[in-house]
Amino acid sequence: MKDVTIIGAGVVGCAIARELSRYDLDVAVFEKEADVCEGTSKANSGIVHSGYDAKPGTLKARFNVEGNRLIHELSKELDFPFKENGSLILALEEEGRKGLEELLERGNKNGVPGLRIVEKEELKEMEPNVSENAVCALYAPTGGIVCPFNMTYAFAENAADNGVSFVFEGVTGIEKLKDETGEVFYRITAGKETVDTRTVVNAAGVYADVFHNMVCEKKIHITPVKGQYCLMDKTAGGYVKHTLFQLPTKSGKGILVTPTVHGNLMYGPTADEAGDCEDTSTTAEGLDTVLSKASLSVEDLPRKTITSFAGLRAREDGRDFIIGEADDAPGFFDAAGIESPGLTAAPAIGVHLAKLIAAKLNAPEKKDFDPVRKGIPSIALASDEERAELIKKDPLYAKVVCRCELVTEGEIRDAIERTLGATTVDGVKRRTRAGMGRCQTGFCLARTIPILAELLGKSTDEIEKSGHGSYYIDGEIKDTL
């Protein structure tokens, strides 16, 4: 009997797993995709929100502010890229001032530090390319940007290093059962596997309502809301320093313009109901909307798109997070309805749920818990001295595989060989940035595939983009002639 089974290896599931790995518990994470960080966690704004946005008293407000504080520490402990670049919420017309003041008051109630309104002159100094129409802005100094992939990998790897097992198999059923003592336990079906578990954590993102409703009478309902983004070339990366939000108006929530933690510039997201929970397609209208609305925030919006993508947010009808043990299903813990600011809130949700579960199972803290995880060293970010040092240890750090982002074979091997290492091309890409640059795998794909094949003991024909039939090579030439 497992102690805890977590459904979903997104940032929330992995953060919970990592916090649970502090305790003496047998924990397993089930994930339907071939890797961790394959759903909402891989396609979002990568923003660490300061916490002024959520209504005071909501779970969103509480976990946002707590999560923001935690990420500052965790980014060092778990070695993932994070930068406190500060956020600016722009009022693009004078009427907006009132709205900013409301947000300021709300933020103060939520306990967000350092909020203040900056006037046009100061705003221009802070952001020289800001739109001439910007009247004033709310400045949130604790807003930040993070690499959502590596934050998720960091949690997952640290959890796995501390004993959590990860199973890449989709959960298809949960039964609520009672043992001979009358104690409730759950029987999880995942592919051909059946696992009994004392508790379940539902961190299934856009599918969280499906699992919740399998065992609970009080139903929840999640709508996948699509957000489309455009990512600009690094040559446009310095166009803004802060994350620029637009003050929500009657016509919508607005589109943000932000540097990413890796030095690109990004615009998005739209917010439209998706066709289904797998509909991560972009649309011509969506991408048009992103560019046209983003152009309201800055003068001469750079249009050097290197890729565009869409992600799905899990919007629950009540519009707040659902976190905690279900009323009518003891031992079934929800982390559901995790839309924005979910990425920011994830570490706090992890701490909160892990404490609840450990208390319920009377689990003591482990003495040998190791909170530290080291990321993959980056040749691109290293100084020449650090580069030489890495190359001395392993000459493959001198063998460049991705020329756009300057990623070496040493880094790619590390990404594949480490705990919960990459098994797909996308997995390598998100761990190392090989293929994230302006040629978008044009050069490195053919060089990454053989490394994956070698280290996984597969043929190059078997290497996939993201698993589940996303093959690249389709046999030998002339085989049908």
């Binding site: 455009c230 990512l231 040559t235 797998e278 991560t280 397609s281 972009t282 649309t283 011509a284 969506g286 991408l287 050097k304 798109t305 290197i306 890729t307 565009s308 993508f309 020449d384 001295e385 580069r387 030489a388 190359i391 001395k392 000459p395 493959l396 001198a398 063998k399 460049v400 020329r403 756009c404 300057l406 091309v425 302006r438 040629c439 978008q440 795998t441 044009g442 050069f443 794909l445 053919a446 190059t460 024909d461 996939e464 983009k465 993201s466 698993g467 589940h468 039939g469 996303s470 093959y471 690249y472 090579i473 389709d474 046999g475 030998e476 030439i477 002339k478 085989d479 049908t480 002639l481």
Partner: protein, 435 residues
């Protein structure tokens, strides 16, 4: 970290780098280093196994690898040193000494610096990816740049897909339509956003017409279907503003989408160096010596502007090699008379390489290369210097896919500018109607 000194460093061992090296060596520069990131010399030519190379240079029709091998042979005969599997990661200019500092790394030497008196940039170009085209839809596997598909087919003997749609009628896309057909794949069509093809006419005849592959001009991909692997694409006709025409959508069931939508000079190092860039070509601005605005740094081949024929790359690179040699050997130290000709391109001519000419440094004849921005039939190509008509060349056809050139004769140029009495001159290249 080790540091070595070289007279000339050539970044890139493809057709441009090889021809530049051979030329510089021929001029008497012996202390040369070619730095190539691949495991063999020859660059992209190694995977261009089709024929059609070398008619100008060798007066015979060669395949890409054969053409490359001719130059590799010359490099070996001249005993020009080269490093393979070596990546240049930084390039800077030492203001004090005038030296260029090349930072590179490889598995055997680790990270090292080369101080060079001259550098020739010959890094080539890359293909425009899907994202830059803003094609909506899913992001499955099965979307390749034509060059990636070419690598798999020609270097690895693997098929990247079986039922193929090609977007963009650039030469690599056209070539790949034939290559994949030859190797057993079915190419459904080639869609081209523009009302004309971006590739050479001969490739349309030989690679599409020969195999009854339709070329859909003024069409583009408006949707990609398939969560894991491409399952199909939707193609629509576009209006004169390149906007898809509603109702014209046709769905093509396929497993592969190849993109051949243009090439972009690969100038990360040029940017790091701080050389002034031409936004039209994506390459550096250069003068008659193919020298950037950083003294002693020359550029040639597709890193300077995208060429249609490798023969022209070799020609341009040979000029860059000679000019770099002159720079190193001090041969170009003759008195600069201060005359400068700025080349202005207009009325259909998009850019020129070079963009500025110092007559004092001009060779007896100087090739100026450029491209037009539209398809023109039965027009004149006119060249004016200081208001005087220098040339009027009747052209049966000019197309964006094919590079054009004019040859400036030094004696003629000197004659005209000496009459003007000023130092700043203007040369205009434009498309004109025939009278």
């Amino acid at each position: 970290m080790s540091e070595i000194k070289k007279d000339l460093v050539i970044i890139g061992g493809g057709p441009a780098g090889l021809a530049a090296a051979v030329s510089a060596a021929g001029e008497g520069v012996k202390d040369i280093l070619i730095i190539e990131r691949d495991i063999r010399l020859g660059g992209i030519l190694n995977q261009c196994i089709h024929n059609g190379f070398g008619l100008h240079t060798f007066k015979e029709e060669l395949t890409g690898p054969e053409y490359a091998d001719r130059y590799i042979d010359m490099v070996r005969k001249e005993q020009i040193p080269y490093m393979l599997d070596t990546m240049v990661v930084d390039l800077s200019f030492d203001e004090k000494t005038g030296e260029k500092i090349v930072t590179a790394m490889n598995k055997t030497e680790g990270l090292f610096y080369v101080r060079a008196r001259a550098v020739i940039l010959a890094m080539g170009c890359r293909e425009r990816p899907r994202g830059a085209l803003n094609i909506p839809g899913f992001r499955p596997s099965g979307i390749y740049s034509a060059g990636t598909a070419q690598y798999y087919t020609n270097m690895e003997g693997k098929l990247p897909g079986r039922k193929v749609v090609i977007l963009g009628s650039g030469d690599i896309g056209l070539i790949m339509a034939r290559r994949m057909t030859y190797e057993g794949a079915k190419v459904l069509c080639v869609a081209e956003l523009q009302p004309y093809s971006g590739g050479l006419k001969r490739n349309i005849v030989q690679c599409l017409d020969d195999f009854d592959i339709p070329l859909l001009l003024s069409h583009t991909v408006v949707d990609i279907k398939g969560k894991r692997r491409v399952e199909g694409v939707t193609i629509a006709e576009v209006d004169e503003n390149k906007k898809p025409i509603p109702g014209s959508e046709v769905f093509y069931e396929c497993d592969t989408l190849l993109l051949s939508c243009g090439l972009i000079p690969e100038n990360e190092l040029t940017d790091k160096l701080g050389a002034k860039m031409n936004p039209v070509t994506g390459g550096a601005f250069v003068n008659e010596s193919l020298e950037t605005d950083v003294p002693g740094v020359f550029a040639c081949g597709n890193v300077l502007h995208v060429h249609d024929l490798v023969d022209y790359v070799s020609g341009e690179a040979a000029a860059a090699g000679k000019n770099a040699a002159d720079h190193i050997l001090g041969k170009n130290a003759q008195e600069n008379d201060g005359n400068v000709i700025n080349i202005k391109t207009e009325n259909g001519v998009r850019y020129s390489v070079p963009s500025v000419v110092r007559p004092a440094y001009m060779p007896d004849t100087l090739t100026v290369r450029f491209r037009v921005g539209n398809e023109y039939r039965d027009k004149n190509l006119s060249v004016y210097l200081d208001g005087k008509q220098l040339m009027k060349l009747p052209k049966r056809i000019m197309a964006p896919g094919e590079m054009e050139q004019i040859i400036l004769v030094k004696s003629k140029v000197s004659e005209i500018i000496s009459e003007s009495g000023v130092k700043e001159h203007e040369l205009i290249i434009r498309v004109e109607d025939k009278e």
